[in-house]
């Protein structure tokens, strides 16, 4: 029996004359994620003419191409025929411990999230901080990691109208995902709190703190501890704590 191909496991969607989306599913799932990463690796190795950039996401691979060099149909045909057997999801490498001041000015949606989940704010915080999250992908903003999975009761849709300005360091969630906004940005996620940790720093050797496959744990801190850590971060003297993955 012939080995499976990408075409057996994905569908191809159009994203204008500069992008082809290779979609493996419509959910957040470690197996789907592993297929995305594997396909990205094969396309990178094939060094296809006119393919300018690959952006892996949870469930699909965005293939950017230059329409003056190649065409959607050409690259679709090549990618569709690539062999793709089942690939294992890999384990977390290590877990970053991220201090968070929940609620207050930095967490204007905490009350709504807790109310929708039918629990007190303290219980919502304990639940959110009680999980170890997997970094599925980076995107949306430099260094913005998509962390999953958010505990079931805290899963809320995005705001109907995104906020025009979400401050850097905001700890937010929507649906299955949790994240930290690395930069000030517009955004539609629900804000639970804030962290002083820098998630993207162009001067750093590794500009993005997170990489896919890392783990993240949120550690609640009070105002005083937040201020102390914020001062260290401003001076560039704060080292984010790490624990080994279980």
């Amino acid at each position: 029996m012939a080995a499976d191909t990408v075409a057996d496991k994905a569908r191809f969607l159009s994203a204008g004359d500069g992008g082809v989306v290779v979609e493996f599913g419509d959910t957040v799932d470690r197996t789907i994620s592993a297929r995305v990463m594997k396909t990205a690796e094969m396309i990178r190795d094939a060094a296809l003419d006119g393919v300018t950039e690959l952006v892996p996401t949870f469930r699909s691979l965005f293939v950017h191409y230059d329409p003056t060099i190649t065409s959607a149909s050409t690259i679709t045909d090549i990618i569709a025929a690539m062999p793709l057997d089942d690939v294992e999801a890999s384990a977390m490498r290590h877990v970053w411990r991220i201090p968070v001041l929940y609620g207050g000015e930095g967490g204007p949606d905490l009350a709504d999230v807790a109310a929708t989940a039918g629990m007190s704010e303290a219980d919502a915080v304990a639940l959110h901080a009680g999980s170890v999250y997997n970094v599925y992908m980076l995107g949306f903003l430099p260094g913005f990691g998509y962390l999953g999975d958010t505990p079931e009761p805290l899963r809320l849709p995005r705001l109907e109208t995104p906020r025009v300005r979400v401050p850097a360091g905001s700890v937010a969630l929507t649906g299955q995902m949790t994240a930290v906004y690395p930069l000030e940005s517009p955004g539609g996620w629900r804000l639970l709190g804030k962290t002083p940790v820098r998630f993207f720093d162009i001067a750093a050797e590794r500009p993005a703190l997170l990489a896919p496959g890392d783990g993240v744990r949120f550690v609640p801190v009070d105002d005083a501890a937040y201020d102390d850590i914020a001062a260290l971060c401003r001076e560039g003297r704060y080292e984010v704590e790490r624990e080994d993955a279980a």
Partner: protein
């Protein structure tokens, strides 16, 4: 080393090039010029390669001084009356789409743009800010890239690369400005199936007005609401420049150069790459309509637009004397329109 000094910054002037590629997987946007045709025309006029870094300006242009030695410059992408004031106080004017030499200590004032909210000023040798991740483009939200990751301010000094062109300054026929409702051609997808038939019909048949909340990241559009089939939260996936997302407000947002690399709102369509420069020229209050084409057609349209741009550049001719700017512009236009292909690049008629 030659430098230019910013005397007045204009409304929002940034260093840009074609953009920063290869880092979207870390969440780093492409950035780069909104109107790549303007960038290439401006660079061609001063003898640069097409992708040399330029100054992109929005609505009101800067005033710039040649701090050391003569600098050849050209503005493209919008109409403007450039006023040059020499060190001795004498002044003259130069139109856009025509190169000029700015002598040492002279100042060129660009002022309000006309016919586009975006224009590019190229300097011979290119703007020489340090490249970051392979590009000189500014990403304002970063903030990084370009000149200190920000729009220019009065007093900033910018280094210029080597490469003074020989020969007389050139002029090029400008790309015509959109008049009335502007049509942006789109390819439907990748999430067109998240919208009802009625929603798609609304999107393709109704006019949308560009909101004031519009910047290099995206353009909010006001008009009839576009109906989703069900929800408006999808599992985030990748985004191309020109993607049109429709969040829960049911109003479209057209994503431009500084757009996020991934997102979780359904994308009804993408503006075709040949029409992206046109999108970059549109400002608040402008009216747009969308027209669907196939991907294959979009690719052909883009290649044709590239060929037309190359012909436009190939038809550059020495500018007429700038002593009589209005006459010079007229005769320049007549001279060029006789030889250049009349294709209305980037503007679907």
């Amino acid at each position: 080393m030659t430098t230019i000094e910013v005397v007045e910054p204009g409304l929002q002037t940034t260093v840009q090039d074609r953009g920063r590629f290869g880092y979207q997987a870390l969440g780093v946007p492409v950035s780069g010029v909104l109107d790549f045709e303007a960038m290439r025309l401006a660079n061609a006029l001063v003898g640069n390669g097409g992708d040399a870094a330029v100054l992109e300006m929005r609505m009101v242009g800067p005033s710039l001084k040649a701090a050391e030695g003569t600098v050849r410059m050209a503005l493209a992408g919008s109409e403007a009356k450039l006023t040059i004031t020499l060190a001795d106080g004498a002044t003259r004017t130069v139109p856009a789409h025509q190169a000029f030499d700015l002598p040492a200590d002279a100042v060129v004032k660009i002022g309000p743009l006309k016919g586009s909210v975006t224009a590019c000023l190229a300097v011979s040798g290119g703007v020489d800010v340090p490249p970051l991740f392979g590009s000189r483009a500014t990403y304002l939200r970063g903030p990084f890239g370009g000149h200190e990751g920000r729009a220019l301010r009065a007093g900033d000094r910018l280094a210029i690369g080597e490469g003074a062109p020989a020969g007389p300054p050139l002029a090029v026929e400008p790309i015509p400005a959109p008049a009335g409702d502007t049509v942006l051609r789109v390819v439907l997808g990748p999430q067109a199936d998240w919208f009802t038939d009625k929603g798609i019909a609304t999107f393709l048949e109704e006019p949308y007005v560009i909101d004031g909340a519009t910047d290099r990241m995206g353009m909010r559009l006001n008009g009839p609401e576009i109906e989703h089939v069900g929800g408006y939260n999808l599992v985030s996936d990748g985004i191309a420049t020109g993607a049109i997302q429709v969040p829960g407000s049911r109003l479209p947002i057209l994503l431009l150069a500084d757009h996020q690399t991934t997102g979780g709102y359904p994308k009804i369509a993408n503006v075709i790459s040949a029409d992206l420069p046109l999108a970059g020229r549109l400002g608040p209050g402008g009216v747009v309509r969308f027209e669907a084409v196939s991907v294959a057609d979009a690719e052909v349209i883009r290649r044709d637009a590239e060929a037309a741009l190359a012909r436009r550049i190939g038809a550059m001719a020495p500018a007429q004397t700038a002593a009589e700017p209005s006459l010079a512009a007229l005769s320049g236009e007549n001279l060029i329109s006789g030889v250049v292909d009349a294709t209305n690049v980037g503007h679907p008629s």
